[in-house]
């Protein structure tokens, strides 16, 4: 944090970080550790995608739905039509975008906000889950679904048993998520969304097309989440409603993003590290006796965070550092309003 405003220091720091991260699998080849890192990167990307909306008070409890669409559409196209994921994923993303428009447009047009918006999106999670289980002849239902292993080119099938390849791929996807997050953060769309989250009428009076701006950010968030689902599917080669869709996944996204920090680029990444390490520790420490415990702990922690640390772990640490450097913070205004919006993130 002592890099300050030096224009060269930051790019160099980023380049060093990128090289170090990319070098990890060549130095440390332990497959289990790589597996955990890959999961952290993929889920970080998914949580970042959620936070694109969540940071503006658009609390979606339906992102499991988008993730499920991304994963299942890609896998179904591969298994049934033999369509390469390189084409299947774009089609899956289009499906997720259409779904986002179908859910988002009526909500935004008729001003369904706050808790009511969260409830509508909760229904989206449920519906996608129901569709997957109801079409079990195609999707395998709750038993899960496996993309067929390719007999031809692994590259064409976007399949690989090599964890190093997956680590690097996941790293690129994760970094892409951060770039999009930062790009939005620096755009006028961020101002517009902040304004909308405070006062829709006043935003409209400033010339903001409220419905269009909300739809844009929703579609972007849905596209990224669906991509996370597809990447997860290609990596794990097994998907089930419990792992890529459904309400549990949706709530996990809310939890991780809130815990890590909604208003800083790396917040969701910190959230992913915490949630995945917690789940792994419980799994290793207690085995099958602890099934479902992680969700219980998530719930309790979520309540604690919304009340005591609304900016999340990373957000709060960065604030502390900023305060230490400069006694007068540049943007002290945001805290109460942001605390309020974070409290809307509590699951009903």
């Amino acid at each position: 944090m002592s890099l300050g405003r030096n224009p060269i220091a930051w790019p160099i720091a980023w380049a060093v970080a990128a090289i170090v991260l990319a070098a990890v699998p060549f130095v440390h080849r332990d497959p289990y550790h790589l597996h955990i890192l890959i999961l952290i990167l993929i889920w970080s990307f998914a949580y970042t995608s959620w936070s694109m909306m969540g940071r503006f008070g658009l609390t979606s409890l339906g992102h499991g739905g988008f993730m499920g669409v991304g994963a299942y559409v890609t896998a179904l196209l591969w298994n049934h039509l033999g369509l390469t994921p390189w084409l299947g994923i774009p089609i899956a993303l289009v499906c997720a975008a259409i779904l986002a428009l179908i859910v988002g447009y009526p909500c935004f047009r008729f001003r369904i906000t706050g808790h009511y918006f969260a409830l509508v999106t909760l229904a989206l999670s449920g519906i996608v889950l129901q569709v997957i289980t109801a079409t079990r002849d195609w999707t395998g239902g709750s038993l899960g679904y496996t993309p067929e292993a390719t007999k031809g080119s692994q590259l064409l099938a976007m399949q690989s048993g090599d964890k190093v390849v997956w680590y690097l791929g996941a790293l690129v996807v994760w970094a892409f998520g951060l770039v999009v997050w930062t790009w939005v953060d620096r755009s006028m769309a961020r101002s517009a969304m902040d304004a909308i989250s405070e006062d829709e009428d006043a935003a409209a009076a400033a010339g903001v097309n409220v419905t269009a701006e909300k739809l844009k950010i929703t579609v972007l968030s849905a596209l990224m989440t669906a991509l996370a689902g597809a990447v997860y599917c290609q990596y794990q080669m097994f998907i089930s409603p419990d792992t890529v869709s459904g309400i549990g996944i949706s709530l996990q996204m809310v939890f991780a993003a809130v815990v890590g920090g909604l208003y800083v680029a790396l917040g969701p990444t910190v959230g992913a590290i915490i949630t995945i390490l917690l789940a792994e520790m419980l799994r290793i420490g207690f085995g099958t006796k602890a099934v479902g415990w992680d969700n219980l702990i998530y719930g309790a922690l979520l309540v604690a965070f919304i009340i005591f640390l609304p900016k999340g772990i990373l957000g709060s640490i960065l604030d502390r550092l900023k305060l230490r450097r400069a006694p007068a913070p540049t943007r002290p205004a945001a805290e109460p309003a942001r605390a309020r919006s974070a409290s809307a993130a509590s699951p009903p």
Binding site: M188, A195, D199, A203, A204, N209
Partner: protein, 252 residues
């Protein structure tokens, strides 16, 4: 510039505005007054697109506006302020104005929006520093910010809604002077809705008086202030009337 014909707004069985017609000429300041519930704000909300009229037409530079969304109307060149300031507290003072400058001018260019924001903030006398927070502003500062947001959209017509409520007398005079300066220096036509008649009468070119959703009087300030119907429904006591007439004389 603006031609309103037979404007009607009904809320269920209640008629808030009934058959109001008026014109606003380029470069003038029109005062819009009336007691509480007389329909001033409803007319404002129809002009700015918040409400769709039940009947009638609103033509701005020859184009029909009724039924258009608020953000479209801003982009046609009609800016508005709110009676109670509605700043965006998550944004800095500068970002508030830049947001309006960008989205209020059809997202033309960010540099242009930021330049417009700087001009607007300088015009109303707020800091143009990029990070100054809204929370440091008092009542007068928030009113200025409200005005700066509207000005940053570079409107041709400004709808100023009761912009003086909550200010002391010096601040009121300053704000009135500000509106006159906006018209004189930027050439922006203004419709000004106000409760405080004395200050308004000093600045406006023409006044329109509403009561129970109907237009009861329209004309030059001194004519309106001495209109017996206006004195009866709006001014109430003789003392207030005398004060208003005196103020209007100064603006003859």
């Amino acid at each position: 510039m603006l031609a309103v014909e037979g404007l009607v707004k009904r809320f269920g069985g209640f008629t808030a505005v009934s058959n109001v017609s008026f014109k606003v000429d380029q470069g003038e300041i029109l005062g819009l007054i009336g007691p509480n519930g007389s329909g001033k704000s409803t007319i404002f909300n129809m002009l700015s697109g918040t409400f769709a009229p039940s009947a009638g037409s609103i033509k701005f530079e020859g184009h029909e506006l009724s039924g258009l969304a608020p953000h479209t109307i801003i982009n046609r060149g009609i800016g508005r302020t709110f009676q109670i300031p509605r700043p965006f507290r998550r944004l800095s003072i500068f970002e508030n104005a830049a947001l309006a400058g960008y989205f209020g001018q059809n997202r033309h260019s960010r540099a242009k929006a930021e330049a417009a924001a700087e001009r607007a903030l300088a015009m109303v006398g707020l800091p143009t520093d990029r990070h100054a927070p809204v929370d440091g502003l008092g009542a007068a500062g928030l009113k200025k910010l409200e005005l700066a947001k509207a000005l940053a959209t570079e409107p041709k017509l400004l709808l100023a809604d009761e912009s003086l409520g909550g200010l002391d007398e010096t601040e009121m005079d300053q704000a009135a002077d500000m509106l006159r300066k906006i018209r004189d220096e930027l050439g922006i036509t203004i419709i000004w809705v106000e409760h405080i008649m004395g200050v308004l009468m000093k600045v406006v070119d023409r006044v329109m008086v509403l009561d129970h959703g109907e237009k009861i009087s329209e004309g030059l300030p001194h004519q309106v202030a001495s209109d017996p119907r206006v004195i009866e429904v709006y001014l109430g006591t003789d003392a207030q009337a005398t004060q208003a007439v005196a103020a209007a004389r100064g603006n003859r």
